[in-house]
Structure formats: C-alpha cells, structure tokens
C-alpha cells in the first residue's frame, strides 16, 4: 500500500502540475495566438524554441536551467536581487522548469486550433461591432474549445510524468520537490518493488485514461509536430 510519504509526493505532484498548467495556459495562449497568425520572420525561431523540449534530453534542459537559475546565473542574480533567493531545489523552481519543459504540449494544440478557425469568423465578428479582444473571448475561445481541452490535459499529464528536469532542478527533497516519478526511482533504488508498483501502476493508469479520453471522448489527435 501507499505510505504517507507516497501520498505527500502525490499531492506535491498534483500541485506542481496544476500550477504549471495554469501558467502554461496563461503564457501559452497569447504565444500560440501570435504563432498562429503572425507573418513575422521571428516565427520560425520562436517556434523552434517552444518545440526544443520535445527533442532535447530533459537532463540537458535541466542542466542549463540549473546554471541559469543558480546563484551565478542571470536569472539567479535577478531573483537574488529581488530578495527571493535562487530557484533551484525549491517548489517554485520546479514549477518554472515544468512550465518550460511542458510548454510545447500546450502551445502546439492551441496553435493548431487557432489556425483552423481561420480568418473568416474573425472578419464576421469585426463587421458585427466586436473589437479584437471581444472577438477573442466570444469567438476564438469557444471555437477552439477542444484545442484548450487537449492542451490542458496534455500539459498536465506531461508535467506529472517528467523526471529528468525535476531531478536536475528540483532535486529530491521530501515535502518540497520530491514528486511521484522521483519517488518511484527512490523505491526502486531501495529495492521496494511493491511500493514502486503501486505508484508506477497508478501513473500508468492515469496516463492511459487521459489519452483514452483524448482519443475517444474528444476525438482529437494530440497534435505534436
């Protein structure tokens, strides 16, 4: 059965994934909107940065984040100057790393959904007195609903499943940064296979259910280029 330490990691994982998903939607929505519509020459390079975590080994991303966020990194110096210390090996650092790592899973479905809406409904809205912001909330969001659902589910699920970045940036600190995937690793290291089974089986069931919902109920293809 699950120990109380296991439960703590489950709750922590849920908190990290929820917060990261909220931030990804907040930043990812305008970013995806821009990427779907811009003709700027920067589009290609921004797209590349967003998609990078898809192909990069998580340890590589984790390594650079560690340096960037650390005491001597640019971001680290800034956060120290702000008086909030450095982010590595903290809960906040974990969320920041998760946001960057899972971003493509949020941005790409949104970008596809926005592109599919096309120009026409937006023009119709403009001729019916709706300002661009008004149009975004009254036409774009409702018409991109399934894109938002896909983005939320994929972003959340992918954050739950991460390991490499978490270990590099978060470490393995009980109650603070120890998430489920790390806990499974700990159990296996300690040869506690039955404990590992409970958590691993749980994650497997969770991922399977999430994808089943995506493919059957929402009938969408989780679109990752």
């Amino acid at each position: 059965m699950l120990t109380s330490a296991d439960f703590t990691t489950l709750i922590l994982t849920f908190k990290v994934a929820s917060l990261a998903t909220i931030f990804m939607l907040l930043f990812g929505t305008p970013l995806a909107w821009w990427l779907a519509r811009t003709r700027s020459k920067w589009r290609g390079i921004i797209n590349t940065f967003v998609a990078l975590p898809l192909v990069l080994p998580p340890t590589v991303l984790g390594f650079y984040l560690l340096i960037l966020l650390g005491k001597n990194g640019i971001v680290g110096e800034f956060t120290t100057w702000l008086g909030i210390g450095t982010l590595p090996f903290t809960f906040a650092g974990l969320v920041v790393a998760s946001v960057l790592y899972s971003m493509p899973f949020v941005v790409q479905p949104l970008q596809t959904a926005f592109s599919n809406i096309g120009e026409q409904p937006l023009e119709a809205a403009a001729t019916l007195r709706a300002s661009p912001i008004d149009t975004f909330f009254s036409v774009v969001i409702p018409q991109a609903k399934s894109g938002f659902l896909t983005a939320t589910i994929l972003g959340f699920a992918h954050t739950v499943g991460e390991f490499g970045v978490v270990l590099m940036v978060g470490g393995n600190i009980p109650d603070k940064t120890r998430v489920v995937s790390v806990q499974i690793y700990n159990h296996v290291e300690a040869l506690e296979y039955s404990q590992a089974h409970w958590l691993a089986g749980g994650l497997l069931a969770f991922s399977f259910t999430v994808l089943l919902i995506l493919y059957t109920v929402l009938k969408t293809t989780p679109h990752v280029k």
């Binding site: 026409q120 409904p121 023009e123 403009a126 001729t127 019916l128 007195r129 709706a130 018409q143």
Partner: protein, 363 residues
C-alpha cells in the same frame, strides 16, 4: 447634419500588390442599390473589403454620408468594428458555435440600440427564417444560411449594407429563392446597399446604380440604364446585353391576358401581371429581342412597336451591329446584323421604330 444632402459615398483607394493594382476614385449615391460589377480579378471584392476596413490600402479616402471613415493623408482609420455597416460574405460565415438566434443577437448586443423587437421580427419575417431560430448553422441549407447572414447584418440598422456576391455559392434554384428577398429588402427597409457581383442577371434585377470595374480600375459609373447602354463597355456587346426600364401599370386588358404599362416615352403591353394599377415594375429588354424598322409596320404580330431615335452605332462581334436608341428618354439597346444596318442606312440621329419581341419582368 442634413442627411438628405449628404447621402453620398466618396471612395478613393490606391492599392499596389505585385500582381494586382487597385486604383479607384468614386462618388456614389448612398441610396438604393449600387452594384459593383466586374469579372473575377477586377478588384470588386477588394474594393468592398477596403470600404469595410477589412483590407488596408496604401492611399485611401472614404467618406460616407458626410463622415470620414478613413483618410490616409491625415492618418485617420476607423477599424471595421467601429464602422456602422453591415457585411454579407460570399459564404454565409455564420458563427458555428452559436444558434441562429444567437448569431442574430451577436451584433445587437454590441450596439447601444434601443430594444426594437418589432424591427427584429420584421427582418426575421422578411427573410423567412422564424422557423430556424433555434437551429445550429450546420443544420441549415446554403440558402437558409445566407438569409440568416443577411438578417444578422440588417438587424444592426447599418448606414450601409455591403454584400459580396451573396448568391455566388448557391445553385440556380437557391438564387431564385433569395433574389425576391433582396428586392423586397431595399423596397421595405431603405438601407443603401453596395452589392458585388459578376452576374448580368443580378445587375438587371437589383441595380439602381452601376459601377463597372476592370483590372482594378473603374470603367464606368452611372445610373443603371445609361450605363447598360454605353457602347464603349463590353456589357453592351455581351450576348446577354440588356436594358432595364422602370414602368408603371396603368391598365389590365383581361380579355387578352395583357397588362399595359407606361414609361417615360410611351407604353408597352406585357403578359398579364397580377398587381394593382399604379404598381411600379422593372422590365428587362434583351438587345437581341429588339429589331429596327423604318416605318410603322402595317401588319405585325409584335405588339410593342415604338418610335425611337438612333443615338449611336458600334460594331459588335461576328457581323453584328450594336445600336443605342432612345425611346422618349429611355435608352434602349438593339443587336442587329451589320447587313441590316447598311441596308436600312442607319445613321446617328435617324428616326426609326423599334419592335420589341419579348421582355421579362424582374419583380
């Protein structure tokens, strides 16, 4: 502001793409139906989109009923959502996530209109969509969608209604289903319309004023019957070349199943029409149905023979002559063979008679 004096559209646009240039300078009456006519690529839709503010031009000036909507010289540009217009797209372009009723209310919610339920239902009734109100757009036919789209634009009481080939995506049957609505529309609602089309039929049926566009330039701009009968335009050369007369019913000859109408220049007998005396009608006369004689024929089965004066003659394709005549003050086109023109010795200014073999009533 005196609106009666300012009911004009002044539109100047200069737009330069690699493969397409638009350069227009128009002053149009902002009343009745003005048709922007041209082949594909003539720039008619681009012009309409510029007027709506959906497309930007490098140089532009647009004034509607005395208020300036855009002026590139002083950097004025009213965004589309602040222009008091209605727009009907070629594809109905309804919001797929909203019901018909919600589509109609979308614009209404965004203007400070007094709750004019009467007017709302009058438009719904006029377009015959009351039974569709709770449906989703995907469950409408093409014709129904387009009627909803027209109603959606009209309920806003726009100062001008812009229509971009609203019938182009429909088959012939659906077109005939909507055209009567369009005619009633501007008889009953009195909203000026700018209407883009490449169809001769729609020009004849709807236009009061006609602008002919070709390769991004204005070829002609004027009242319908004058413009239709200009020999320098390809319109008068076309096999479908027509003139349109506005006439009024004065008598029903029930014995013969005929209706007599008068116009500025004489009277005509038409197949019986079920309408009250005094009703205005629009009749279309194809140039190929008009023949010219020098004297009143003593015996002919053709009922409509009228005195006319030849105003202009031009050569048409394959041995044809195109003759512009005036019957009273009404212009009339005739397509005859060049041989006939020579044999009859037709000259500008000559007094002749025209025989009209047939005509169609457009409303």
């Amino acid at each position: 502001m005196n609106h009666a004096l300012n009911k004009f559209i002044t539109a100047r646009f200069k737009l330069d793409y690699d493969e397409f240039q638009l350069s227009v300078n128009l002053r149009l009456p902002n009343s009745g139906v003005t048709v922007l006519f041209g082949h594909s690529g003539s720039g008619k839709t681009t012009l309409l989109r510029c007027i709506a503010g959906l497309q930007q031009a490098q140089q532009s000036y647009l004034e509607i009923n005395g208020s300036v909507w855009q002026d590139s010289d002083v950097g004025v540009f009213l965004p589309t959502h602040k222009r008091p217009l209605g727009y009907v797209f070629q594809e109905a372009n309804l919001f797929s996530h909203l019901t018909v009723r919600e589509n109609l209310n979308y614009g209404l919610k965004r203007i400070n209109a007094s709750d004019d339920t009467m007017k709302f239902y009058r438009i719904v009734d006029l377009l015959g969509i009351e039974h569709l109100m709770e449906r989703m757009p995907e469950r409408l036919s093409g014709g129904e969608k387009q009627r909803v789209a027209i109603a959606r634009a009209l309920v806003l009481s726009p100062e001008i209604l812009l229509m971009d080939e609203p019938l182009a995506s429909l088959d012939a049957k659906r077109k005939q289903e909507i055209l009567p609505f369009l005619t009633r529309l501007n008889q009953e609602l009195n909203i000026p319309v700018l209407y883009v089309t490449h169809s001769h039929q729609e020009v004849a049926q709807l236009a009061d004023y006609l602008v002919v566009l070709e390769a991004g330039k204005v070829q002609a701009s004027g009242f319908l019957s004058e413009t239709l009968s200009r020999l320098d335009l390809s319109l008068s050369q076309d096999r479908e070349a027509t003139t349109v007369w506005n006439v009024i019913i004065v008598e029903h000859e029930t014995d013969f199943h005929l209706t007599r109408v008068v116009f500025d220049g004489g009277s005509l007998s038409l197949p019986a029409i079920e309408a009250k005396i005094g009703t205005p009608l629009r009749v279309q006369i194809y140039a190929r149905d008009v023949s010219i004689v020098l004297e009143v024929p003593r015996a002919t089965s053709i009922l409509n023979v009228l005195p006319a004066t030849i105003m202009d003659i031009a050569d048409g394709e394959s041995g044809q002559s195109i003759v512009r005549l005036e019957v009273g003050n009404q212009p009339l086109l005739a397509h005859i063979t060049r041989k006939s023109a020579v044999v009859l010795n037709l000259k500008i200014g000559k007094a002749v008679f025209v025989q009209i073999k047939g005509m169609s009533i457009l409303n």
